[in-house]
């Protein structure tokens, strides 16, 4: 049981690592645009399939496919924003949230139309995991976790020190004041959409490597991402990372005591509990982003 417990903890960290990038993206977009963008889920699917096209159809190696996916997913995010959200900028958040659900249906079905319903895998042989003291981890999983950590740190640095990051924080904090100060808020939205979708697309290829690629892959994660963002106090990219690891950890470790059929209930349960008792998020930070 001792060894097993460590394995569950490790599983939780791996899940958290995969949830973290979309949770950051979700929070960033929420911070700037002030609505929950559920289309994030399908950016994961898009990422998975774009990388599939690059890796399997075009025969590119995975690292190249990874970069290409991030670049293209960013454009997808910008395209969606310009086509679907920009004309609705002034509407209420609920309207935009519903639009984002509509967008995800359209994108998901486009993926079905192009690639069909079958599950797919990248051109990567599945390898036996490595073992230390009864705890197992796959080589790809370790790489995924590392890459994810690098991006987490990079986003934090970007937000803290870069000009873009500062402008993003300014717009998130007070859009009116930011625009008075001469910050081009449409430009910031443009770049945030790009960054958010690119990060989420990266998570898509990670999920695809870790398990499999299918049109539902984003939908399967959206509840956990949403839970992570809420736990982190929606709108804060830093604490979203904490939320992601917390949700990943809770979903996996709960397996020890709870029947496996209650896994989804963990995400829902956490959303309810946090909204009831700590509506500002688990880490109660007031600062945005």
């Amino acid at each position: 049981m001792g060894d097993q417990f460590l394995q569950y903890v490790l599983n939780g960290i791996l899940s958290g690592g995969i949830l973290a990038l979309p949770a950051i993206a979700f929070s960033l977009l929420y911070g700037i645009l002030r609505f929950p963008n559920f289309a994030i889920g399908t950016y994961i699917t898009a990422g998975g399939f774009i990388a599939y096209a690059a890796n399997v159809t075009l025969g590119l190696p995975i690292p190249l496919a990874f970069l290409l996916t991030m670049v293209l997913c960013g454009f997808l995010g910008v395209g969606v924003d310009q086509l679907a959200f920009r004309p609705m900028r002034e509407r209420r958040p609920l309207t935009l949230a519903i639009v984002s659900i509509g967008v995800s249906f359209i994108l998901e079905n486009m993926a079905r139309f192009i690639w069909g319903n079958d599950l797919r895998s990248y051109n990567l042989p599945v390898q036996r995991g490595m073992e230390w003291g009864g705890v197992r981890i796959g080589k790809e999983q370790l790489i995924i976790l590392l890459v994810s950590l690098i991006f987490m740190v990079w986003v934090q640095l970007l937000l803290k020190y870069s000009r873009l990051g500062k402008s993003m924080r300014a717009v998130a904090d007070n859009p009116m004041l930011a625009s008075v100060k001469g910050i081009d808020s449409e430009g910031i939205i443009f770049r945030t959409s790009y960054l958010g979708a690119a990060l989420t697309g990266a998570a898509g290829i990670m999920v695809g490597i870790d398990t499999a690629i299918d049109p539902l892959m984003g939908f399967k994660l959206i509840l956990s991402i949403f839970a992570a963002a809420i736990l982190g106090g929606i709108g804060s990219a830093t604490t979203a990372v904490g939320g992601a690891f917390f949700v990943g950890f809770a979903e996996e470790v709960s397996m020890i005591w709870l029947p496996a059929t209650y896994k989804s209930a963990i995400g829902f349960g956490m959303i309810v509990l946090v909204l009831l008792f700590r509506p500002a998020g688990l880490f109660r930070r007031t600062q945005v982003i």
Binding site: M1, Q4, Q7, Y8, N11, G12, L14, S15, I18, R112, N117, D118, L119, R120, S121, P125, V126, Q127, R128, G129, E131, R136, G138, Q141, V207, D210, T211, A212, D214, L216, M217, F219, K220, L221, E251, E252, V253, M255, I256, P259, A260, T261, Y262, K263, S264
Partner: protein, 406 residues
């Protein structure tokens, strides 16, 4: 808009001509005394977890119906098919069923796949006196107070899990883990299997039912492997099975695995790779490839790569058409009341509608022998027996290695 001399606007006359041309283009036989066609619905899983099977299931029905209609239909009546996609989703299936029954006025629905789907639409069918025949396995379907409108060609869980138990015992398996996706049959299957193997001295060391649509099953499998099973029985669907097989491999599992064809098919094997899939057993209610019905289906579909559900839907449409031909009562009730007459012994064995029709016209009693097996039904509309095939993955290919009589 102004009317022209003939009292028709240009637009209206275009509409009339357009409709007429369209009518001809669709190839409707214009018969002055044409009888109403018999309306039948299909509700195959074209998308969702059943997506790999649904299209062929529907295609089998369409091809059979085309030949029936070309050969004069059922006593001169044509069959008109209405296709809907169950999406392997009970809610979508319920909406589709309402549409099929209320708008298309079908008298029977064929080809529902997942048990959850069949259970969801069953009440709508029997309350509307619509006949339903499915390929679902859950026992709850037998227990429906369905007024005998609900039939199926998939053996019930009891028959299936019995065969799985028999298989495990014949292989001499001792420490077995049972893992299953959350479905109406997961528990009945597991319980029956456990009882059967434990009575013979084997042990079910872990019994785990998991949720569908999870991105990973790492912790579920951590739990399963914690009990050190030597063999695993998996009752999953193919999307989750792909994830599970990869993860089992990464986690260092080296024991045996057996599961049904809806968990392990060639696509799953291709996806996980030959090394991961090596040695996995597939044990499935099979087809009867030696039967004339199966050979007829091969001819109709133009392929020998036929999934066992398509073989069943071939039987569905033939059973329904022959029941209607026998009873000449063109309602769901007519199918219900005459199906056992044409499917169960005694009688002349037939494997297609045309063959059956010939003997029915001569006033003889027939016994339909299907592509999926004997197609004999008990009082609950369950199939009495079914051949089981077991195959094994060897170097990335599924190789048939034996048969078990269900």
């Amino acid at each position: 808009m102004e009317k022209n001399d003939k009292g028709l606007t240009r637009r209206e006359s275009l509409k009339v001509f357009g409709a007429g041309a369209g009518f001809l283009a669709m190839g409707f036989p214009i018969k002055l005394n044409a009888q109403e066609p018999i309306r039948l619905g299909t509700l195959c899983p074209l998308t969702g977890a059943g997506g790999p099977y649904g299209p062929q299931m529907q295609e089998a029905i369409s091809r059979v119906v085309k030949e029936m209609n070309d050969s004069g239909g059922i006593h001169g009546r044509q069959i008109q098919l209405f296709h809907e996609d169950s999406q392997t989703n009970p809610e979508a299936a319920v909406r589709a069923t309402h549409k099929l029954i209320e708008i298309n006025k079908v008298i029977a629905i064929m080809g529902t796949w997942a048990s959850a789907v069949t259970l969801a639409i069953a009440p709508i069918c029997y309350n509307n006196k619509v006949f339903d025949i499915s390929v679902s396995g859950a026992d709850a379907i037998s227990d429906l107070q369905d007024d005998d409108y609900i039939f199926r060609t998939q053996p019930n869980t009891f028959v299936q899990s019995g065969v799985y138990g028999q298989f495990a015992l014949e292989k001499g398996w001792k420490k077995i883990a049972y893992i299953a996706i959350q479905t109406p049959y997961a528990k009945t299957f597991g319980d029956t299997f456990k009882k059967k193997v434990e009575a013979a001295g084997a042990k079910v060391v872990e019994y785990l039912i998991y949720e569908a649509n999870k991105p990973s099953y790492r912790s579920e499998l951590t739990k399963v492997l914690g009990s050190n099973p030597e063999h695993i029985v998996i009752m999953g669907y193919s999307p989750d099975s792909i994830v599970i097989f990869k993860e089992l491999f990464k986690m260092g599992y080296k024991g045996g695995v057996v599961g049904p064809g809806f968990a392990i098919n060639q696509k799953v094997v291709d996806n996980v790779g030959a090394e991961v899939a090596e040695g996995i057993y597939i044990l499935d209610p099979g087809t009867d490839p030696q039967s004339p019905a199966y050979k007829n289906l091969v001819r109709l579909l133009g392929t020998t790569d036929i999934n066992s559900y398509a073989a069943q839907t071939y039987d569905h449409i033939n059973l329904i058409a022959l029941s209607l031909a026998e009873g000449k009562v063109y309602f769901g009730t007519g199918i219900r009341d005459h199906l056992r007459t044409i499917s169960n012994p005694p009688g002349i064995e037939v494997g297609s509608f045309q063959e059956g029709m010939k003997f029915l016209k001569e006033g003889k009693k027939i016994n339909y022998q299907g592509a999926s097996g004997a197609c004999d039904f008990d009082g609950k509309g369950d199939i009495l027996s079914r051949p089981f095939i077991f195959s094994q993955v060897k170097s990335g290919k599924m190789v048939t290695i034996g048969w078990i009589k269900g």
